[in-house]
Subunit: 345 residues, 2 copies
């Protein structure tokens, strides 16, 4: 009952069972080479003493940590938690446990986690880094810890798993053009974010390919709901002759804010304004008007990243780094679906 002093060790178990230390180890690791009788005796000593293996000693001696970590940019963002679920699935399949480490967009904390993980000798590190080109990450990889970048592109020196944002922007705007819109807006920013720039590029690509339509860019300071509402105000304030009829938002939070503002101002969606979001978060479907959105294979992203990491960790030195790119998909919902004007009540 009262433990208090240090945890019991295998030596204690051996003494208690009247057997040698090596035998206890055999019971734990190769039970088939120990007789039924002693095995039972040792096991009951283990239970009686409440013995728990010391992983430090274990790892020190032989082995491997059977653990991998995902250093995530923002654990409160549903996008990343979905990716994390995929990572977990991939790791589970290989019998590894996943530690989630939240950098919270804080560079120092990220560095602290990387140091800790390297010292703990985890099997590998998945990371969505705070800054794209971090020399610490390259150094970590160079010292021998397998690293895979998630949702951030890498140079040829590392593995990475990303989603094609140019294609995503193209899909969204092509859809809007197809449904008859010509005055398109892109809502999002700041443009320094790689994802934002790529989605704009995709939007422009769609317009130039179609040879029709114009793209107005509404810059925002961040990618959240409040900024979406603000963008909605600015949009509504434009003279209706020039007002874009179809804003494409850099993420769903912006789109939801914008939608909310439209509802407040009495504009109807999609009749007066068609809205496309990005990420297809859970609430996109649950919005007042279900939101058309560009969906990223979040789960697959995580799972693939984990598998890539494992292949690098298991591979005997030889391993060529891969940069995988997934394709996003457009999910069409009511916010862009043209509805007959006379609606049955």
């Amino acid at each position: 009952m009262v433990a208090a002093q240090g945890a019991p060790s295998m030596k204690n178990v051996a003494a208690h069972a009247g057997v040698s230390l090596g035998t206890v180890s055999n019971v734990l690791n190769r039970p088939e080479m120990v007789s039924e009788r002693t095995r039972r005796r040792v096991q009951s000593s283990i239970d009686a003493l409440g013995f728990v293996r010391n992983d430090s000693a274990r790892q020190l001696r032989g082995g491997t940590s059977r653990t991998l970590a995902y250093v995530v940019l923002d654990a409160s963002n549903p996008f990343f938690t979905d990716v994390a679920m995929g990572v977990q699935e991939g790791a589970d399949a290989a019998g590894l446990a996943v530690y989630l480490c939240n950098s919270g967009e804080n560079s120092d904390r990220q560095a602290a986690y990387l140091d800790l993980l390297e010292q703990q000798r985890v099997e590998g590190v998945l990371i969505t880094p705070v800054h794209a080109e971090d020399p610490r990450i390259a150094a970590l990889a160079a010292r021998g810890t397998p690293v895979v970048l998630v949702d951030r592109a890498s140079g040829p020196g590392l593995c990475s798993v990303t989603v094609d944002d140019v294609l995503g922007g193209d899909l969204a705007v092509t859809h809007l053009l197809d449904t008859g819109h010509r005055r398109i807006a892109f809502v999002g920013g700041p443009r320094a974010i790689g994802q934002v720039a790529d989605r704009i590029a995709g939007a422009e690509q769609a317009i130039s390919r179609a040879g029709a339509g114009t793209l107005t860019i509404l810059d925002t300071a961040a990618l959240n709901v409040a900024e979406g509402r603000r963008a909605g105000e600015r949009l509504a304030g434009l003279p209706s002759a020039h007002r874009p009829t179809a804003p494409f938002c850099a993420n769903d939070l912006l789109a939801l804010g914008l939608l909310q503002q439209m509802v407040r101002l009495g504009l109807r969606v999609p009749d007066d304004l068609a809205i496309v979001g990005y990420d297809d978060i859970e609430f996109a479907e649950a919005a007042a008007v279900p939101l058309t959105s560009v969906s990223q294979p979040r789960h697959l992203l995580g799972r693939t990243a984990a598998e890539l990491l494992l292949s690098e960790a298991r591979g005997d030195g030889a391993h060529d780094h891969q940069q995988l790119v997934f394709a996003p998909e457009l999910v069409v919902r009511a916010s862009t679906r043209l509805i007959p004007v006379s609606r049955p009540v």
Copy 2:
């Protein structure tokens, strides 16, 4: 450049610097007792070889892991990620790192994580368990690992940190009564969930104290958006003479689904129907009609749990387990803001 073979150890560093192993250790742990000259020499060897401390050996010899874990029920639920942020803040303050482990409501995975964490000798474990009374958790604590339950009550044998759900239900319904409503509904389920039962109890308590009003219970199969929509349909289907005018939902997801369905059916919120949610998630404020909701001190919950854990871990054996209960707060927004009809002048 090419590492490949095992990571360099302190012995290698010592050889490289032409110094003894103990001196290298001193440079790392008590730099003040080694001369400036050798300290620099050793440091440059460390850099040259890319030496990284082996935490297993370190922990085996002396020490302590300087790590704590939060085993979370569902990492994709914003409630828990907010709690996790609080945990991280509390741990950071004490210089500990936090590993997030996602059980995903899976009992086996939770058990696997607990085993792993105990074997790794983490300083302590915070957990929102899959099942309330898990003997494994009690056993873990009995063997000496500090444990704190988060958002789940414990018996006297463990620390726990919770929020008063009875009070939350009371606050919500009292508010509805105060704004003139008499036919209240509770939307949520299954009742086997402790939180749900407590919130119902709170609602009933408010009504009996006021000596006015009735409570209809609309049972749901789960606490998500789809169930909220379904509950909305059932509600709208009732004859308007008996229809509750104010549904109180067991969480915000239900409330959002219900709200969405009301908008679709042409009922106005709050004019025809006042809605109260629970949890005050980010999207409650961003809904088509901003949602009145019962807010829980998520961040504080996590932070306090971490502090409690640390006090238990640091305390020299003597430690009396505490069960802390926080008070929720009502956040009033547009979904209930309405001047009472029958208000005497």
